[in-house]
């Protein structure tokens, strides 16, 4: 630590997040390293260190000979101000070295609202924002994560995107860069051409995008020999895949401070609004034996007192009972808590929860998504009110006292009756809970309402988002209908609006991003910094209409800005699902019957989904 840094740290909040030094952090001898990698998480240390993907890629890259991968997080604005005042560029936590001197800078994009932080971090590093202005071959800036599938709004700022699961692909990318470094290559285009040959790598500058007069995309044409349809990468065998049993253990508090065990990737359910459920297909799972062994090793190495199972729908994991038995056998005598998020509202799941969560009986949550059965069918959210009621009854009889139900408003085909049905359903759950409660503490039911954001690569990718006024009208309607006994939480529609713009954005949004950043945008995912008016001002200044992206219905024959990206699931499938939604018709899950989404083409020949 330099004295400059020490002086700064004496004046900022939570300085521990800026110094590294945690147990498990990788320190390498620089004389053995020729490729320095900065893994940038465009949010705070506390959020970033809670991310499993970061730990996986950190471990994988540091296992490579000659490569040193270090962590970088977005400094909170007080720290940023101090760094700028002292002329201290963005540095990596392990070495304290400025990242502008590294060979590779990788960003992970987990949500659209982090884009302003990506720009801010590039600037803090002392690098030009635009890829075209970074003439030197190094550092190369690449971005991955779920937002990279439609990374177009960031296309002007990053040199390459990596699409899909990074375990194998990152090794190939880093090797390619290391090779270029060893050769003394200086031609950035040549390096990008080599990278574009790696399956999963998408170099946006190698695609010419033309627009129609009405502003929609006319064509997207590959150049430089890049693939016409860059296809996402997946790992086919999760059992043999790297898992970070030995990883960095933060000394200071982070959001999720525990071992996270990933049960499976993909989801057998085809909720039509859900992007994660589509982009992570096909469904693959780890075996319970491998999971139990990895859990044991990860707990031994970390000393953590909690382990959490992670997947999009834990109840759908085959072998959940066996897995929990194996985990409890290790955890119980050691006082280690097992937590099971993302359970479905069914009896089996509830009994399991009873068995593993003996201590705290408070926070029960359900995702109902819509108030009426008709709308739940339209979005293919396969849960019936009887199931909710049944779980609610058993849970409150079993001593639970609070229940939170998640809903969305603004879903395609929604009517005012559907909105009002949210109040009705919540009320019926409250009545039931009150009658059955044994906790003696009174019951508390919360209806948490989010505004629907149409996302790329879903059945609803063509849909118009409700306008802000329409959302506010629906919230008012709901407030008027909602009995006082129920807490109503709702999300500010303006955030969802911006999310919708970027989720389906194209390259022209680069100017908006840069303008908003120049006007001070950062930490847009944080209420204390998000400023809707600043963004609207930025749209006005650069002459772009945000409604074109968010509240306009996109034509089914339109070339979408992400049309050239292949995520496995086919547009024709998404379209079929969209039309089924209009008929309020459900589709079976992958176990009942394959609906031919196309994701199985990513698997090796002969391998079936969810085996």
């Amino acid at each position: 630590m330099t004295e400059t840094l020490e002086r700064i740290l004496s004046r900022v909040e939570k300085p521990a997040r800026y110094v590294g030094g945690e147990y498990g952090a990788i320190i390498k001898d620089k004389s053995t390293v020729d490729t320095r990698v900065a893994f940038c998480f465009p949010d705070t240390y506390e959020v970033g260190m809670s991310n499993l993907g970061l730990r996986i890629l950190y471990g994988i890259k540091n296992n490579m000979e000659g490569v040193w991968c270090e962590r970088v997080f977005a400094p909170w604005p007080d720290m940023e101000g101090e760094m700028r005042a002292a002329g201290l560029p963005l540095y990596a936590l392990e070495s304290g070295d400025p990242i502008k001197d590294f060979e590779l800078i990788c960003f992970t994009l987990q949500y659209e609202m982090c884009y302003s932080n990506v720009l801010n971090m590039l600037d803090l590093a002392g690098l030009p924002l635009r890829a075209a202005e970074r003439k030197d071959i190094f550092p190369l800036v690449i971005a991955g994560g779920s937002c990279a599938y439609n990374g177009e709004p960031l296309a002007a700022f990053v040199d390459a995107f990596v699409l899909g699961e990074g375990e194998d692909m990152n090794v190939e990318v880093v090797r390619c860069i290391q090779q270029a470094k060893r050769e003394g290559l200086t031609d950035k285009t040549e390096l990008l051409m080599r990278l574009s040959k790696i399956p999963g790598v998408y170099v946006p500058s190698f695609y010419d995008v033309l627009y129609n007069e009405d502003g929609t995309v006319k064509s997207i044409t590959a150049t430089h020999g890049a693939p016409e349809h860059p296809r996402k990468r997946i790992v086919t065998d999760l059992d043999s895949m790297y898992f970070p049993c030995e990883t960095v253990i933060p000394s200071t508090e982070v959001v999720f401070d525990r071992v996270t065990l990933e049960l499976m990737r993909g989801c057998i359910r085809g909720c039509r609004f859900c992007q994660a459920g589509q982009i992570y297909r096909p469904v693959r799972r780890k075996s319970p034996q491998v999971l139990v062994e990895q859990a044991r090793r990860a707990l031994e190495h970390s000393g953590y007192e909690e382990i959490s199972l992670s997947s999009l729908s834990t109840s759908d994991y085959k072998g959940l009972g066996e897995l929990c038995d194996g985990l409890l056998e290790y955890c119980e005598p050691r006082m280690i808590n097992l937590s099971l998020p993302s359970l479905r509202a069914d009896n089996f799941s509830y009994e399991l929860m009873e068995r593993v969560q003996k201590v705290r009986k408070s926070g029960l949550t359900f995702a109902a998504e819509a108030g009426s059965q008709r709308l739940r069918d339209a979005i293919n959210k396969n849960v019936r009110e009887e199931e909710l009621a049944n779980t609610c009854r058993i849970a409150f009889e079993g001593g639970y006292s609070t229940l939170k139900i998640y809903f969305m408003i603004g879903l395609p085909t929604e009517t005012d009756e559907d909105v009002e049905a949210i109040a009705g359903l919540s009320y019926r759950m409250w009545q039931l809970a009150k009658k059955r409660s044994t906790s003696g503490r009174g019951v508390k039911i919360t209806a948490s309402v989010a505004c629907f954001v149409p996302k790329a690569f879903t059945a609803f990718q063509w849909e118009a988002q409700n306008t802000r006024d329409e959302f506010l009208r629906k919230i008012e309607l709901l407030r008027a209908k909602m009995p006082r006994a129920i807490n109503l939480d709702w999300h500010e529609p303006s955030t969802s609006f911006l999310e919708a713009v970027f989720a389906r954005g194209d390259r022209r949004l680069a100017d908006v991003l840069e303008q908003a950043w120049r006007d001070g945008a950062k930490f847009d995912g944080w209420n204390e910094y998000y400023d809707f008016d600043r963004w609207m001002e930025a749209f006005r200044k650069v002459g772009i209409d945000p409604d074109f992206y968010a509240t306009r219905e996109h034509g089914e024959d339109e070339v979408l800005p992400w049309s050239h990206i292949d995520v496995g699931v086919k547009f024709s499938h998404m379209l079929r699902e969209r039309h089924a939604a209009y008929r309020s018709e459900i589709s079976p899950d992958c176990r009942v019957q394959c609906t031919g989404c196309g994701a199985n083409c990513l698997l090796e020949n002969g391998v079936k989904c969810d085996e």
Partner: protein, 213 residues
């Protein structure tokens, strides 16, 4: 079951850890080292671990104490096992069965390093020889004036170079120990505000002035 005491150092990057961070870190490090920790009874069992006299964030400690209970024998090489699973700048110094209670801690020696970018001004030590050294002390109840002179029994210069001076102060450790940064505040009131300061707790002492262990 036995009670154990660890003497540890918390320096460098680890000086930024709060009291809660230190507790969390030791709980996990003890688990990693395979220490058979004893847990409290009740609905939310937690290991019995206590850190004596929390250090303020930003202050180094060279002989800090943590007491904890175990239910079995620790096994051989307990100190080495622990040392190998600690964060970079937390160092395990000594592990033993304590003979005295932390209540016997009466004083704590601190080094106070004041850095002046344009040279150390005269009269640093003299600032602390006045009978009344008013400082504005922040507490939960608000800000109130307090006499810094009551917080220490001895102060002397330990070393100096062109741009910094290091003082050694013996602070009363019993009731509401004072944050060492009030020494810099006192210098600021005397028109000698340092550009930067570093603080470290060197050792705990008993009432008779002997080192506490």
């Amino acid at each position: 079951m036995s009670e154990l005491r660890l003497i540890f150092q918390k320096v460098g990057t680890a000086k930024y850890l709060s009291q809660l961070d230190v507790m969390r870190t030791f709980t996990r490090a003890f688990m990693r080292a395979g220490f058979p920790l004893k847990f409290s009874q009740g609905f939310n069992p937690h290991p019995r671990i206590s850190v004596a006299h929390p250090l303020p964030v930003g202050v180094e400690g060279y002989a800090e104490l943590v007491d904890f209970d175990t239910k079995d024998d620790m096994g051989p090489d307990a100190l080495e096992r622990l040392a190998s699973v600690l964060p970079q700048d937390i160092k395990a110094v000594k592990l033993y069965t304590p003979q005295s209670s932390v209540k016997e801690i009466t004083f704590a020696d601190y080094t106070l390093e004041f850095i002046y970018d344009s040279g150390v001004p005269d009269g640093i030590l003299e600032t602390f020889s006045a009978q009344n050294i008013p400082v504005m002390k922040k507490s939960k109840g608000g800000v109130k004036e307090s006499n810094l002179r009551d917080a220490f029994t001895e102060i002397r210069e330990e070393s100096r170079d062109g741009r910094s001076v290091v003082l050694l102060a013996r602070l009363d450790a019993r009731n509401a120990p004072i944050n060492p940064r009030y020494f810099a505040d006192a210098l600021a009131s005397a028109g000698k505000a340092p550009d930067f300061a570093r603080y470290a707790r060197r050792r705990f002492l008993r009432a008779d002035g002997e080192a506490f262990e």
